[in-house]
Amino acid sequence: MVNVTTNAVKQQEKPINMSPFAIARRKFLRNKLAMVSSFFLLAVVIVSVLAPYITTQDITKVNIGSMSLEPGGEHVLGTDKSGRDVFTRLLYGGRISLLVGVTCTFLVILFGTVVGSIAGFYGGFVDGLLMRFTDFVLNFPFLVFVIVLNTILFGLVNGLWVLIGVISLLSWGGVARIVRSKILAEKENEYILAAISIGCKPSKVIVKHLLPNVLSTIIVQATVTFATLIVAESALGFLGFGVPQSIPSWGNMLSASQEADVLRDKPWIWMPPAIILTITILSINFIGEGLKDAFNPKSNR
């Protein structure tokens, strides 16, 4: 009985004329875990962007006088083996890691969506061609290819953008496949026939009718991709093939732990990037989960 009344109240307070996206937004705002994660991610982004205003330490200058200092005093989180302030590098590293993550995600989603929606909408020969190309790209050994391309292109272009380009080029395949499968299912609906019969161009049918209806999947996929790519960047940085060593990133900072001495005795050098990386990835995944629930009409969380 109690349940019935609360449901009735909920029904009443629900404003009329809500688009499916407005409903999803409402549901997302009620999801505590996703909201906490959003705030955390937002905080990380803000702190990283405002790094120059928060700390004035130099991020690249080697300082022999203050090597491997423990946390405390002038250096909140201590210094690394070259005497650079860990806290400062953590903030600046966040900038790079997030920049790589966001840019790559944008490119990956863009390219994957374009390829997937064209393949799904037209079907037949176009579909076959594009999907075989996708399979081809998906079959590249990711790490090896990134390392080789990065080495060849290094010095010719700014190292950071080489990395972004290479990661993006190799990662769009999964998104293309998912978008294609969603479009294939969605285009069987009669409203697509209706859109064609009222004289919409194929491009308009895709952009105005198909994509808005698979957008929820794309958004969820974007968050997953975002998390994956930040991890990929860190993995490459850890191996020493990520962004150039002169630019701090979370992955670069982690590579210091390759030395047993640092790993065992100087946790303040590698723990901060490891922790912040883990929590960031977790919160991105929670946001993704929350979005998935919000867009699912059957969930009522």
Partner: protein, 337 residues
């Protein structure tokens, strides 16, 4: 549905004098069946197999037949939402069989469709205003205010309140959603509307409302309908002439009165005997057909109906009868006549 008054007599007389709007000649639509390792075409589903008929301006042609006989495929092929395999579609004397791209898009202005499923035929991410104004945006340059005025006018014509403008499809009932679909089809003031089982997904109480709306609009906008349905009483209420389809073929086509009074084809006779009678004292002979509809992938030789026909003769399996005018305006494809 039968409670609704009919007034087709006058429309039909007008229709007969008028010129032909749509002329279908030997239309065939086959769906390829892919199979094997290289996805080669191994067979065809003959959804529409050699169909010819005409629709005159202002008339309503009903198309009946059981599920899977190719009614919807016929409708979609005529609108060029599917590519015909063979044959010709002449719209106002213009051949639209093979046009494509922007030419086809321009031609679409004159023929629109009302879809079967009111739940799947409205884009869930668009508001009603967007849905109804979209065809106008595609074809006409109008200012925002003109557009909105036009849409509100269309909404009122199909019996929806102006508040509907900002709402989304999921906020309406099936009948109301079908009205939105009708408003969208009307927006361009088309000459031909193909209604593909427009009421089969609706409650019986709502069906008659939507049917009457379609009839009213026909007079108001001078529309021609190709009305596809499997409900015989619905077709009887709506149509001036009726075509009966079986397995992708047109087996009989006649005026409404003539078909119901004197069905000639054995299949039509069986169909009409299946209409439930409201008066229980009026027992009639129910013709029950044996067996199932053969697969359209491998239709029987000769007359497509001979495998189930109670009057089949030996030559039925050899000769495929063509449509023959047996009485004025009454065509039937059967060797008995």
């Amino acid at each position: 549905m039968n409670k609704v008054e009919t007034k087709k007599g006058s429309v039909q007389e007008k229709g007969l004098e008028k010129e032909t709007l749509l002329d279908i000649q030997n239309l065939k639509t086959y769906y390829p069946v892919k199979g094997g390792f290289l996805k080669r075409t191994v067979a065809h589903v003959k959804a529409v197999d050699d169909l010819s008929f005409q629709i005159k301006k202002g008339e309503t042609l009903g198309l009946v037949g059981e599920s899977g006989c190719g009614k919807s495929t016929t409708g979609r092929t005529i609108l060029r939402l599917l590519k015909p395999t063979e044959g010709k579609i002449l719209f106002e004397g213009k051949d639209i069989t093979n046009i494509s791209g922007s030419q086809l898009r321009k031609a679409r202005k004159d023929f629109q469709m009302v879809f079967q499923d009111p739940y799947a035929s409205l884009n869930p991410t668009q508001s009603v205003g967007d849905i109804v104004s979209e065809p106008l945006k595609n074809f006409k340059k109008m200012s925002k205010n003109e557009l909105k005025e036009e849409v509100l006018d269309l909404l009122s014509r199909v019996g929806l309140p102006p508040e509907a403008y900002h709402k989304y499809g999921h906020e309406f009932s099936g009948g109301q959603r079908q009205r939105i679909g009708i408003a969208r089809a009307l927006a361009l003031k088309p000459k031909l509307i193909i209604a593909d089982e427009p009421v089969s997904a609706l409650d019986v109480s709502v069906q008659s409302q939507v049917l009457n709306l379609l009839k009213e609009l026909q007079g108001e906008f001078d529309l021609t309908y190709l009305f596809i349905a499997h409900d015989l009483s619905v077709v009887k209420h709506m149509s001036d002439r009726i075509g009966v389809m079986y397995l992708g073929n047109l087996v009989e086509i006649a005026t409404n009165e003539s078909l119901y009074a004197e069905p000639l084809h054995p299949y039509t006779q069986a169909l009409i005997s299946a209409i439930p009678e409201t008066d229980p004292s009026k027992r009639k002979n129910r013709i029950v057909l044996q067996g199932d509809v053969p697969s359209p992938q491998n239709p029987p030789s000769g007359c497509p109906f001979h495998t189930r026909c109670p009057m089949a003769k030996e030559e039925c399996s050899k000769i495929k009868p063509a449509l023959k005018e047996v009485k004025p305006g009454h065509h039937v494809a059967c060797i008995l006549y």
